[in-house]
Subunit: 440 residues, 2 copies
């Protein structure tokens, strides 16, 4: 089955009414943004862009989709005919995947007819809201971990398909691999993992379990040493594998204290190169607390795939500009106070200070020409919008392995550019202010 | 692509080592359970069972899966051959979908060889952890809503595929429909939704937008009246649609105050049957706070699909019993304090008091024979385990539309059986105690 129905029904009922009243072909600009970061977060990380663009290339209504809609009895034949021929032929520009964002950053700007743009709302939001939530949490974890690798082990604590996307989002924010084979396959990630407690429990003794694992996977494997008694487990591990053992894993208890004891024990057994990986209920704060412990890598599960307390990103997709009956483009905006938005087409630049550090997020409202003039004349601003889709054609560099690789680099570069304060894990305001500037 | 790789790599490396050392065919019992409810929750709701069983019927390794694994270079040919022929031929019993659960409820018991059972860990957990989190939150929302319908509008705030499962889980816990077309199609749910703010903004006036919508969808439609001024919006809505208008929707502001004003206005315009639906940032607490407001239905988004603060269920999948070298079944358990588990094969009954209300969750540890004797002799206990899979064959009544329908009924019946206190939304302990009873 295709993905074209991963969409809210109201997008289709609006399409139908617009086809009837002649507004379907009005030129429109939709903007994807968020009004706020999760409480206390200092920055967010854009992720999902590549996945969205991938979906867009195959966003088609197949016969089985149309049959379902026909059978439901709500949409008329004209609407179904429109859907049968649907192809997105508009333009999309926005933040590169992996980029840092702030409140009101115009993350994606969709320029198309109303009919073409309205159908993409839910799919774009679902993908960006979830993937960005994971990447935003992951970025804090890799910051806390410093040079020690973080590994995704969260598949079991997320929807089975969300888990695959979570692994990708985590890698964008600096994670080194994933336990999930499908994620590794689909996104070209490094798959990791060796054995669970069940492995030790399956055998009549821990020693038998370790011996069998080493026979099968070699001495470079990671042995899980906390099924019974950690000290005994480490002793058995080195007895079986020798001092060349790759790593031991700790999955319970006071990880800092245990890691120190295990390190000492490993060293005393001559296993000075045997690494220690820890995997129990970690989040960015737990990782930070282990900074001085002799830990070599972190396996993160639940808190990664659930965005460390913020499992979604409150991004919205709003109509901000549209053609009126005279064919003139007009900014539009909702007027109710709580959810007010700023009409008009937008782009953004990151203003840099004299040290090359981010100083503000400048949201520029105005025509393409005015924006180009401004960017050309401004000192020390980095434009944030890149072309993602032109006349319906997706720019391929954002897709697949190249897209992922660019996103990883983009994230690292943009995070390095932030003021140092931005990387603190404590509750705080957005690291830089968002300034809206009207150019026309 | 199949779903067989939605699995953690370590399940495969354990399989390989087990095939080498002869333990792969040891008879094993794996148990899926949780040690705790989310903080302050009084009960949980099992969901995802039907989806898991559906996946199990097609859990096969296709040539492309095997090629990926071969190319990765970790698994040997013997393991790949085993995977090529993989069929689950064991037994699974567990809680019926929709059932209430508590800490240590043995939600699913998998009896098979080690090799067969170990591969299912991640898929079972991913599905049950997410779906149960959504159903557990949804059950509190439908409790708070009483007889007023709750509708899922959360697709945009969840991973695009998780959203489809969330809608299903919500319906199990009493939701009446979903905005997501794919969820409606795949699970046979009612699809709902009419128009967004973009619809009004697209037109030169609110009146034009309303008129076009009514022309297309009829007067029974729902008009969104808060794009500009609610009082004006309601007046225009009735002017355009007449007093037979189906409903108005409020999506911002103080919903309680606004609903009261709008109800008064609608009544004064003769639109006494026009309903009011509200959809802004709702959760179970917000719904409860609107109990006395003249609201007819609730559209719930973010907080539904993210489990209302608890986006996963901390369920685990543990080996609890296995054959030893003598062919005798032995209970096994991890010995570390923090994550201790109880070995042995388990089932469960809900003990009822003289009023037919749930009094305790009795987890029974022991042989099938001992369990049957106990249940046969006990007064007022309701057995909680049902057969889900027998000798590899999935019991079809848990699948598809019938499965969903049974789950809805099961949930309603089991929730009605709880002590009244269980339905309070405030922070509390599990509604009934879990008692573990050894029968052998």
């Amino acid at each position: 089955m295709g993905t074209a129905l991963l969409t809210d029904k109201y997008e289709f009922t609006m399409l139908q009414a617009a086809l009837r009243d002649g507004t379907a072909d009005r030129k429109c600009v939709f903007e994807l943004f968020t009004r706020r970061l999760p409480a206390g977060r200092r920055y967010g990380v854009v992720a999902g862009t590549g996945r969205f663009l991938e979906e867009l290339t195959s966003y088609r209504f197949e016969e089985e989709d149309l049959e379902y809609l026909r059978a439901e009895g709500v949409l008329d034949e004209r609407t179904l005919d429109y859907l049968a021929d649907y192809r997105f032929t508009g333009d999309i520009r926005g933040y590169a995947e992996g980029e840092i964002y702030f409140p009101h950053s115009p993350l994606m700007v969709v320029e198309s007819t109303f009919a073409q743009g309205v159908l993409l709302e839910t799919l774009a939001l679902s993908i960006l809201n979830y993937d960005s939530a994971v990447a935003s949490a992951a970025s804090r974890m890799t910051t806390a971990a410093g040079s020690r690798p973080c590994l995704d082990m969260g598949a079991r604590r997320a929807h089975e398909q969300a888990a695959v996307s979570a692994a990708r989002a985590a890698v964008i924010a600096g994670f080194a691999g994933t336990s999930n084979y499908e994620a590794a396959r689909r996104h070209g990630l490094k798959a990791i993992g060796t054995a669970a407690h069940a492995w030790t429990l399956l055998h009549d003794s821990e020693e038998e379990a370790f011996r069998s694992q080493v026979d099968s996977l070699g001495v470079s494997t990671t042995l899980l040493v906390d099924t019974y008694d950690v000290t005994q487990g480490v002793e058995t591990a080195i007895k079986v594998a020798g001092p060349e053992l790759g790593a031991v894993r700790l999955d319970s208890g006071d990880l800092g204290v245990q890691a120190a004891e295990v390190r000492k024990q490993l060293d005393s057994l001559g296993a000075t190169n045997t690494k220690i990986t820890v995997t129990s209920d970690l989040d960015e704060h737990a990782i930070a607390a282990l900074a001085s412990a002799p830990v070599d890598s972190y396996g993160v599960g639940t808190r990664l795939v659930t965005g460390s307390g913020e499992p979604t990103s409150s991004m919205v997709y709003k109509l901000v500009l549209r053609e009126n009956t005279q064919g003139v483009m007009e900014p539009v905006q909702k007027a109710s106070t709580a959810k007010a938005s700023v009409g008009g087409t937008k782009s953004a630049v990151r203003e840099l200070n004299s040290h090359g550090r981010a100083a503000s997020e400048m949201v520029l409202v105005g025509s393409d020409a005015a924006r180009e003039t401004f960017v050309g004349s401004a000192q020390s601003v980095r434009p944030l919008h890149v072309p993602l889709v032109t006349a319906g054609v997706v720019h391929e560099e954002w897709l697949g392995g190249e897209g992922l690789s660019r996103a990883i680099t983009r994230h690292r570069t943009s995070r390095d550019e932030l003021p140092r304060n931005a990387l603190r894990l404590s509750v705080g305001d957005p690291a830089i202010p968002t300034v809206t500037r009207s150019l026309d």
